[in-house]
């Protein structure tokens, strides 16, 4: 049942992608009980899923921890909005241009940063991203519109559709379908499914294997006469392009690009997402992204009256106490909840939520299969028979 989490062959990949596709497309239904089935949040799930998947190609496979990925997200966003402003509100050119721009930007930053490894690499990427953020915030205001954020205006040329739609809303428009609400979500979902498939192919390819080798022992790779930097750079560029794609989708569903998207906190967020879900796993980063966005949007919205209705079954005195304790963890305290959860996962499940699911699966179905399915590597070797 759960063996698609472990085995890497084509058949289980197809099973995985089919289940994944169904899960993504039916999100408006099964997210209802969680209070998360509204378009904006589901769009965010898909977009940050793409972002985290791309980040995982770099971090999960090569082990290079980039602290500056938000810069590519920002570049993608600004490119997309400029594409709207100059070319028109069709999302397809915006997507393509954003991915290209982010790729070029990643090439430049990656070329410089990958001269170092480990902490020095992380610091370099962080420095570049923070530099980009400050440039976007003030110096480059003519291009980025600074703090206010870049938006599409009625006066923009939009050479392919500008003259016809003087009164229509300024939202992205795929051949007549407005990219807001649920149609925006389905657009993001389709892109998510496509790029996830692409990520799986990278994981399974000889190129992916080479990246894993870079992670395992770069020195040994060097001694065999192989130059690893081109591989690491390629992974960096691909993951930057994923980030650019995510940035473009953010603007397609909501045509505004703000500089704070490039801030170091945004870069840190994608690291959290990946580690929380499980770095180096296929679906982990996406789960992490969903979880963090859920907390950010739903937990932060709980206020005292929500808590009151949750705890109304308790007697008077206890209710007050329960509300005041729970109040610390919701509303403006949602960061606290997230921090606790992150600590618990990192301490008890170093492999992220995916490892938790695996252990669960093993506990439920696993005893028999643990015998007939040899595990890859030594890290999850069956014990305790």
């Amino acid at each position: 049942m759960m063996n698609f989490l472990d085995k890497d062959n084509l058949q289980s990949d197809i099973v995985l992608i089919v289940i994944f596709t169904i899960a993504i497309l039916t999100m408006p239904i099964w997210l209802q009980p969680f209070g998360a089935a509204y378009p904006d949040l589901m769009q965010k799930f898909a977009i940050f899923g793409i972002f985290a998947t791309g980040f995982n190609i770099l971090f999960g496979l090569t082990g290079y921890l980039s602290f500056g990925h938000a810069a590519f997200l920002g570049v993608g966003s600004y490119t997309a909005v400029w594409s709207f402003k100059l070319l028109g509100m069709n999302p397809l050119p915006a997507l393509v241009l954003a991915v290209i721009a982010a790729g070029i930007f990643a090439l430049a930053i990656g070329y410089l940063s990958l001269r170092r490894t480990g902490i020095y690499f992380s610091i370099l990427t962080l420095a570049f991203a923070q530099m980009s953020y400050n440039l976007a915030y003030s110096v480059l205001t003519p291009i980025t519109n600074g703090e206010t954020g870049l938006r599409v205006l009625r006066s923009d040329p939009r050479i392919f559709d500008g003259n016809g739609s003087e009164t229509g809303p300024l939202v992205a428009n795929l051949f007549g379908i407005e990219m807001t609400g649920l149609s925006g979500f389905y657009f993001c979902a389709v892109v998510l499914i496509l790029v996830s498939w692409f990520a799986i192919m990278i994981f399974r390819s000889p190129f992916g294997l080479m990246l894993k080798a870079v992670k395992t022992n770069q020195n040994r790779m060097g001694y065999t006469g192989l130059n690893t930097r081109p591989y690491a750079l390629a992974a960096f560029i691909i993951s930057g392009m994923y980030a650019g794609l995510a940035g473009a989708l953010m603007c397609i569903t909501d045509p505004l690009a703000g500089a704070e998207r490039m801030q170091w906190t945004a870069s840190g967020e994608v690291v959290l997402m990946t580690i929380l879900g499980g770095a180096g796993t296929l679906m982990g980063p996406m789960l992490g992204a969903g979880l963090i966005k859920y907390f950010e949007n739903i937990f932060s919205s709980f206020n005292e009256s929500t808590l009151e209705s949750v705890f109304h079954f308790l007697p008077e005195g206890m209710r007050e106490a329960a509300i005041s304790v729970a109040g610390l963890f919701v509303g403006e305290g949602w960061h606290l909840t997230l921090g606790l959860m992150f600590m618990i996962v990192v301490i008890f499940l170093p492999g992220g939520i995916i490892e938790g699911l695996r252990r669960l699966a093993k506990a439920v179905f696993g005893r028999k299969r643990a015998d007939d399915t040899p595990q890859r590597g030594g890290d999850t070797a069956p014990t305790g028979h």
Partner: protein, 466 residues
């Protein structure tokens, strides 16, 4: 070789695919059908109506956000007829009866803007799409206000701006669905200029330190124009990065620049830090060009004054409102705010409280929550006394703490007296830090909608969202 080796025929797969595809296609329609039931977005159908309060609960302006939220909760209580009614008793004209709005009980949802445009838009969208909010209000910075205002315009709900001081909010970024009660940088400059003239004379050399983003620039532009107009010379305008923390490298050059006035176009923590450091550098004790060195903070707030403590003494600035004003509206509001929270309200709280009441009143007068009906209700054909201008037209109200106020139809900006305040020499407690020097009447801070500092935008059409 059999093609059905896997046990499924091609036909079954096709059938399954068709069902799946059909569900996927139908899914959007299952959820958006509701939206077409009414003639505007989120029309309340039950016995309640939902407002969305979008304030910074985390980040640099969290203090302001917390005070705004307190004010909103108080406003909801008063609208629903709980508590002592606050400004409902002093507001005139008013259609509010203290039984909710249009007979519906007011409920609210809250969101955290984090003082980031993205987060603010995400939480506003959540309140509109999920919680069914018919109006969004709040915010404590201009970037967020502009971002959320244009979102509300696109989605089709009303936006009542909270604390936002940039000229752009009702200037080049104005929107039909958006309204601002707070004053702006131009008004600050216009109100401060005569006071600066009488206090410091016409022969002064000014040095600007400006937060390097949109609000700082409009502030600097406005003050520079107003002071140069009365004969001051601008020695230099220096941009400082937001959140710089240490301003010493920017303050040292001031000492040797020959300037005798330092104007700090900073807000929040930046202002607290730059002002404190300027005082520590001994600027205030200096004599330059035979004159006492002075400092000016164009936009004051109580919370910033609390942060800067001793250092604000004697320093001039402007404010939208102060809790020590002696008018009926202010007293009623301060009384009920003090009873509920044990402290006086900040100007951010006042503008948010007033915005919530004004929206409710407009809905009551319009007989509908439809955004276009609300916009119509704010149009009006009243005008302020003593201002001879074709654009002096809109909705006039009084008794909300600021004196007679015009919601101008041309740009949805409020015109009312602006306060010039000074840091008190001997404050009684931490809420008593500012004293009102002058109440500059609306006619002295008036500008036309096509003033070059505001031109370039257009309101556009109101949007009902369907």
């Amino acid at each position: 070789m059999s093609i059905s080796k896997t046990g499924t025929s091609r036909r079954t797969i096709l059938k399954g695919g068709a069902i799946l595809g059909g569900t996927a296609l139908a899914a959007p329609h299952l959820f958006i059908r509701r939206a077409y039931a009414a003639d505007y977005l989120n029309a309340p159908t039950g016995s309640t109506v939902t407002f969305g309060f979008n304030v910074p609960q985390t980040g640099p302006y969290a203090d302001e956000g917390a005070d705004e939220l307190r004010a909103y909760q108080l406003a909801v209580e008063h609208l629903n007829g709980e508590g002592d009614g606050g400004m409902l008793n002093t507001m005139k004209p008013t259609a509010l009866k203290g039984n909710g709005v249009l007979g519906k009980k007011v409920e609210f949802v809250t969101g955290d803007t984090q003082t980031k445009s993205d987060a603010a838009r995400a939480s506003a969208k959540r309140m509109i799409e999920k919680d069914g909010a018919v109006m969004i209000t709040g915010g404590s910075s201009s970037g967020v206000a502009v971002a959320v205002q244009s979102l509300c315009q696109e989605m089709g709900v009303i936006f009542m701006a909270g604390l936002t001081h940039s000229n752009d909010t009702t200037g080049k970024d104005k929107r039909a669905n958006g309204f601002r009660h707070f004053f702006d940088a131009y008004m600050s400059a216009a109100a401060l200029a005569p006071v600066l003239k009488s206090e410091y004379g016409t022969d002064r050399k000014a040095y600007h330190l400006t937060a390097d983003y949109t609000w700082g620039w409009t502030q600097e532009e406005s003050i520079k124009a107003a002071t140069e107009n009365m004969g001051w010379e601008t020695v230099a305008t220096v941009r400082t990065p937001l959140g710089a923390g240490d301003f010493s490298q920017y303050i040292t050059p001031v000492l040797n620049s020959g300037a005798d006035v330092l104007i700090l176009n900073h807000y929040g923590k930046d202002m607290v830090n730059s002002l404190t450091q300027a005082v520590q550098f001994g600027l205030r004790d200096k004599q330059v060009n035979g004159k006492q060195f002075e400092m000016v903070v164009p936009l004051y707030s109580e919370l910033m004054a609390q942060g800067a403590g001793e250092n604000v003494k004697g320093i001039l600035g402007s404010a939208n409102w102060d809790w020590k004003l002696q008018n009926a509206g202010t007293q009623a509001f301060v009384k009920s705010f003090g009873q509920k929270y044990g402290q006086p309200p900040s100007q951010a709280a006042q503008t948010c409280y007033v915005q919530a009441l004004l929206y409710a009143d407009a809905a009551e007068r319009a007989g509908s929550f439809a955004p276009c009906a609300i916009v119509d209700a704010f149009q009006g054909s009243d005008s302020l006394d003593g201002i001879d201008s074709a654009s002096n037209k809109g909705f006039v109200f009084d008794g909300m703490g600021n004196g007679q106020t015009l919601y101008r139809a041309a740009d949805h900006q409020c015109f009312k007296p602006v306060l010039v305040v000074r840091g008190k020499e001997s404050p009684k407690d931490k809420y008593d830090l500012l004293e009102v020097v002058d109440e500059v009447p609306a006619k002295d801070v008036w500008y036309e909608p096509d003033n070059p500092m505001f031109a370039g935008g257009e309101l556009g059409e109101c949007n009902n969202g369907v």
